[in-house]
């Protein structure tokens, strides 16, 4: 016992033994006439006071720090684990054409958009993972980011070899759902497939302006009524943006009218950057979406031919691979696209006496702010960063709801027939009836008399 006590007393606390500390404490208690220790807490206070003033004080960690230590580090551990898993993901065999997003991101950075290298690397890994998931995938590209109120969406666009046949109402267009999208809110989590949308949903989405909340299953409460949840609206907006903004250099693709297929041109050489900086050099790759919500016009068999023709005129289809020069101009600008040149704009000549420039061309869409296409003389890409809204030049004017139905006209009131009361005398309708009534009354009177 004695030894243990000695040991405790000699334990050191920052070069001061416990024994010495007790001596100090006792001394202070004696010295200070006003010191009145009522409980252990006061004693502890004095002890701390002495420690602070003798400069051998270690401040205690606050309760927050100690209790939340696990909360603080646990997310970091999760993050590191997921990241490690993603980086080590080995791709077996991929028969798809995947965009080299890591390299294209450096292009994006030159024009002032894009991610940092780490995120770009993670996105590249995600692209590979998704290509692995479905053997039907023909090509995959990073579509962009849709910002939302609570949590943003990252979107990857994928084209398939064979379309998945989902049961859909007959007025829907398969071609509309040609591009398939995967969405996630956290790059290290799983990617979710967005559902295919119907014609009605596409039609309705044109009239709605809505900032996404971040919850895929949220009900959309807007006028006009949108039948679907946030994931349907998200898909519709993504499709609209793709069909309006995905560009390709002129001459890369060719469109066969008879077979209605898109194919690669036989000989294609990427034009020089100087040429790329004009609107002539670019065409829209996907088809134009009609106001009806389809790509080809739907002839509703229940409507009459005149109505159909009228609808067709207000909703004309547009030719495939249309040049962007013919886009409807936005306000006072010439055309819908702003073209800017970044980077090294110096013209060089290479060994074959051809003009060479390392500049990067940026095409920005006025109508969809946030949609950009960039290119240099080797590669090009289109992305979208934004809230998914069109550029509203005029104040938002909600659609007025339909007129409320009027009340029906009132029916004339008549008193309710009551068997105890005799009904009021009514005028007989015709002469015949008058005669018959009179004869009946005379017959009754005669009977009563008898």
């Amino acid at each position: 016992m004695e030894e243990q006590l000695q040991q405790i007393f000699n334990s050191k606390y920052k070069n001061k033994t416990l024994y010495n500390h007790f001596c100090e404490l006792y001394y202070q208690m004696q010295e200070n006439k006003y010191y009145n220790a009522q409980n252990l807490a006061d004693f502890e206070d004095l002890s701390n006071f002495i420690k602070e003033n003798r400069f051998y004080h270690i401040p205690l960690k606050s309760a927050d720090d100690v209790n939340n230590y696990k909360d603080n580090t646990f997310p970091w551990q999760e993050y590191s684990a997921k990241l490690m898993q993603l980086i080590q993901f080995k791709v077996q065999q991929v028969n798809a054409n995947i965009q080299n997003f890591l390299k294209l991101n450096t292009l994006l950075n030159i024009v002032g958009y894009g991610f940092n290298d780490e995120d770009a690397y993670i996105i590249q890994q995600c692209l590979k993972q998704i290509a692995q998931r479905d053997p039907n995938i023909q090509s995959a590209r990073f579509w962009g980011k849709i910002l939302a109120q609570q949590k943003d969406y990252f979107v990857i666009e994928v084209t398939l070899n064979k379309q998945i046949k989902e049961p859909q109402p007959p007025d829907c267009d398969e071609k509309l759902n040609e591009y398939v999208h995967y969405v996630t809110q956290d790059l290290l989590d799983d990617w979710a497939l967005l559902p295919q949308i119907t014609r009605r949903q596409m039609e309705a989405s044109r009239y709605i302006t809505n900032v996404f909340s971040g919850n895929l299953n949220k009900n959309i409460i807007q006028y006009p009524y949108f039948e679907g949840k946030e994931k349907h609206l998200l898909k519709a907006q993504i499709l609209r943006i793709t069909h309006a903004n995905l560009l390709a250099p002129r001459g890369l693709y060719k469109y066969e009218d008879e077979t209605k297929t898109l194919g690669f041109e036989d000989e294609f050489k990427m034009p020089e950057s100087a040429e790329l900086a004009t609107m002539d050099a670019w065409v829209h790759l996907p088809a134009y979406i009609l106001k009806q919500g389809r790509i080809t016009f739907y002839e509703d068999p229940s409507l009459k031919e005149e109505e159909l023709n009228q609808m067709k005129e207000t909703d004309p289809e547009q030719e495939r691979l249309k040049s962007i020069k013919d886009d409807k101009p936005f306000e006072q600008n010439e055309g819908n696209w702003l073209i800017k040149v970044f980077g090294e704009t110096q013209q060089y000549t290479n060994q074959e006496e051809q003009a060479l420039s390392y500049q990067v061309v940026l095409l920005r869409n006025y109508l969809w702010p946030g949609a950009v296409t960039i290119s240099n003389s080797n590669e090009y890409l289109s992305v979208y960063f934004g809230y998914g809204l069109k550029n509203q030049q005029h104040s938002f004017n909600p659609l007025s709801p339909k007129d409320v139905q009027d009340d029906p006209e009132d029916i004339d009131e008549v008193p309710e027939p009551n068997p105890r009361e005799q009904p009021d005398e009514l005028e007989p309708d015709s002469d015949d009836e008058r005669r018959r009534e009179q004869e009946r009354r005379e017959a009754e009177l005669q009977q009563q008399q008898e």
Binding site: L83, I110, G112, Y113, G114, K145, N210, S213, Q392
Partner: protein, 271 residues
């Protein structure tokens, strides 16, 4: 945002960034501001995109010697990276400028509104000189927008600054906050009564949240607080001024604006 631009990775959340040329030239240009003015801190405030050229805005803050709130001074530059002070704007037209939806052209002399006022002198013996009407130029629009954004959006996390007993603001060691809206406050002189009272009573010296809180901002839901995969990098965005981004993690905090300078006036209809 600090001009070392280490924090640009937060801005990548909205998909914007500064390329190498911009970063290098901005660093030099912002340091150059220090030659003529004395500030405690000179920060990069943001980039307002225009059709032809962009505007870069820098902010100089003076803490010492300022009572209750530090002095802020804004500087602007176009693509030539030569900073000049942002001028005052004409009050009457400034309100209209807030709801303009046209993009900035990039030319700062571009006239946004014509004032149609002529300044006539009273009959005097000399021939009255008629001053040319001073129209509301794009530079004034920029000035108004920048100051509006600063007033309505600029936010810092709770616990980043403290009020000294002499009512000066100083930066404290910052340990990070959890990702909730109540942990952020406006970086401006408090206008709400409860915070003003707090400061008048000197209670603000002991509290970390003595500036206007973001929670009381109307319309509600205009702020979006998000964390990234690590859950320690928090960004806070405003939906009425899309392009504004405040950020913090356990070591740093800051804010910046990367956008086109147009207010989202329809915000109330969009949710």
């Amino acid at each position: 945002m600090n001009i070392s631009f280490n924090d640009l990775k937060f801005v990548h959340q909205i998909g914007q960034t500064l390329n190498l040329e911009e970063r290098m030239r901005l660093q030099l240009a912002i340091l150059k501001i220090q030659e003529h003015y004395i500030f405690d801190e000179v920060l990069f405030w943001g980039r307002v995109e225009g059709v032809e050229k962009d505007y870069y805005i820098a902010l100089g803050i003076q803490y010492k010697g300022q009572y209750e709130f530090p002095l802020k001074k804004f500087f602007w530059s176009s693509n030539n990276y030569h900073f000049a002070e942002l001028p005052k704007y004409n009050e009457e037209f400034a309100q209209r400028a807030e709801t303009l939806r046209e993009p900035f052209t990039g030319q700062h002399e571009h006239i946004v509104f014509r004032t149609d006022e002529e300044i006539n002198f009273e009959d005097s013996l000399e021939i009255p000189a008629q001053l040319p009407a001073k129209n509301f130029s794009e530079l004034e629009r920029l000035s108004y927008i920048v100051q509006s954004i600063e007033f309505q959006c600029a936010s810092i996390p709770v616990g980043s600054y403290r009020l000294t007993p002499t009512h000066e603001l100083i930066k404290t060691t910052f340990k990070g906050v959890t990702a909730e809206l109540k942990n952020y406050q406006h970086f401006r002189q408090p206008i709400r009564k409860d915070k003003q009272d707090l400061i008048a009573r000197d209670e603000a010296l002991y509290r970390p949240d003595f500036l206007d809180s973001l929670v009381d901002d109307t319309p509600y839901n205009q702020w979006s607080v998000q964390t990234d995969s690590t859950k320690r990098n928090i960004t806070i965005r405003n939906l009425i001024w899309p392009g504004y981004l405040g950020y913090n993690n356990d070591y740093t905090f800051g804010y910046a604006y990367f956008g086109d300078g147009i207010k989202n006036s329809d915000f109330e209809f969009l949710l």
